[in-house]
Amino acid sequence: MTTKREAVLERRLERAKKEVNALESIIEDRSRSLFMAETELRDTIDFLSQVLENLETAVVVVGLKGEIARVNRAGLELLGYGAPVEAVGKPIASHLLPGQEEKYFSMDGGVGEQNEVTFVALGGARHQTLCRSAVLEDDRGVTVGYVLLASNIDEKKQMEIDLRHAQKLESVGQLAAGVAHEINTPIQFVGDSLVFLNEALEDYQELQSAYQKVIKVAAMEGVAAEEIQLIKTVAEDIDLKFLLEEVPLALRRAHEGIARVATIVRAMKEFAHPGTTERAPVDLNRVIETTLTVANSEFKYVAELEKDLGELPEVMCIAGDLNQVILNLVVNAAHAVEERMKSDPAPGIIRVATRVDGDHVVIEVQDNGTGVPEELKKKVFDPFFTTKEVGKGTGQGLALAHRIVVERHGGELRLLTPEGGGTTFVIRLPIAEVQAHDAA
């Protein structure tokens, strides 16, 4: 017979069993939910990681002490690291210009605002960015760090510089073309007048010979002795013999001079308006001749020009661009020679040569100037890099030349250091495309 106590215990045992079953069921449900949640979470993490890694915007998470905590692929590129492990723990301040950290990333500063910030990558390359920072908080609202979102605007900035440069060149070009046009007409009639004067002088010289014969006969005949004496006196006074020898020479020199002016004016017009801004078959030797004519005043007082222009096929390029490249290299060479001559009076030489090398056209601009120290060789094509004194160089010339040759024309621009000192810039442009163009 069951006692009340046994009945109570039995009921409690029975309920305990049911509780165990209920708990098992709950555990099973929770395990399933947990598994589903974990799967979803992993998928979400994978998705977000992929998005983060493929963002073109650099995402850099910075801890409260300013140390890099996380960084995405674009961030690694911006800061110059190869892998996240290299970047983590490094101070973000080491990638900013002095004062920028306090200015843009402190709570009192520009958190939340968008600013143009320059990041300095490992190795020193500087990148312009549009950067916004935000505070990172934990689930209790406590600040645990900052996230920097930086979009690289180097290309945009470069395009702005190029545009300004192009606009400046365009206005200078328009001005030069206008001046050239205005000069052209008087040059034309000065030249024509000189030709006319020369012909007239030749005619006069014939008349003068006839006069001499008459004077000679009259003298022999004893006619008009006084008049003949007067003619001889005037001829001696005006040094007629000298005039008859020198005037033709003076006219020839004037004619040569005006022809030279005409050549320069023509070159200026061609330089200012090289034709299309699209690629077209171009005679590079002609481009070089034009540019050397225009740039003559830049180098003629410091260096002798040596030209060795080989026979070249036409090359598909933008003539105006190549004008600019040659001009920049020649002006650079002139400046280097001028600088060197301050300490070494040896005569300056700028040598411009062209040749065909396989399927490339090669243009060399060589000078015997100061040369480029080994440690600066890597930087000469960087925008804004210059060793020239303030006001003389903008640091844009070689950078622009590099972009034109390499990016716009698929060529190469290299800097060599000749044994005898100085610098040689070598341009290599592919000629394959022009053949395709001709065939078309």
Binding site: L9, R11, R12, A22, R140
Partner: protein, 187 residues
């Protein structure tokens, strides 16, 4: 109401009055829930109120006294289950300040669907704290018991005055607390 409260109510009755009394209470109460109460489950508030109602009738004690005593008991059990909340607070006052912003947040993470009461605070002085309690369950005697249980756990002397009560028409119950520091142990 979370099942863990039902389970602690059961152990409270069993420990104080014996398992036969609890079985009698269970037998004499009509509950909505079909099946046992388990900690992680969620059950109708009415079931607990019905069980408590039966208990006070059987044991001949007032509802307020029963809830108060259960509150004191419950605090010990909850503290034992999650000692970190006690250990990470330097004193009773700072502990009480974490109930709403930390402990109840964690409870809701652990038990999705848990309906935790709402607490807001006023801090008139360093040794004073005013807690405003709002809950549809209106279990202010239980809150008083929990407060005293907490004071016991921190070994502090606490004076608690309920200056407003939802049962008397107030929008919330107000507990004016004064802290008198750690209780010196008798030599």
């Amino acid at each position: 109401m979370k099942g863990i409260i039902f389970k602690h109510f059961e152990s409270f009755v069993v420990e104080n009055f014996g398992d036969e009394v609890f079985e009698d209470i269970l037998d004499s109460t009509e509950v909505v829930t079909d099946g046992p109460f388990v900690g992680p489950g969620t059950y109708p508030d009415e079931d607990l109120f019905a069980l408590v109602g039966t208990a006070i009738g059987m044991l001949n004690i007032s509802l307020a006294d029963a809830l108060y005593a259960f509150g004191v008991y419950l605090f010990d059990k909850l503290a034992a289950a999650a000692p970190i909340f006690i250990e990470s607070s330097k004193d009773l006052r700072s502990f009480l300040l974490t109930i709403h912003s930390v402990i109840h947040v964690e409870v809701r993470k652990l038990f999705p669907g848990a309906e935790t009461p709402n607490f807001s605070y006023e801090e008139p002085a360093d040794d004073q704290l005013v807690m405003h309690y709002t809950s549809n369950r209106k279990l202010c005697p239980l809150v008083r018991g929990l407060l005293d249980g907490a004071a016991k756990s921190f070994n502090e002397k606490l004076v608690c005055k309920e200056s407003a009560c939802m049962h008397e028409g107030a929008d919330f119950c107000t507990f004016e607390l004064t802290f008198h520091g750690v209780i010196e142990q008798a030599a």
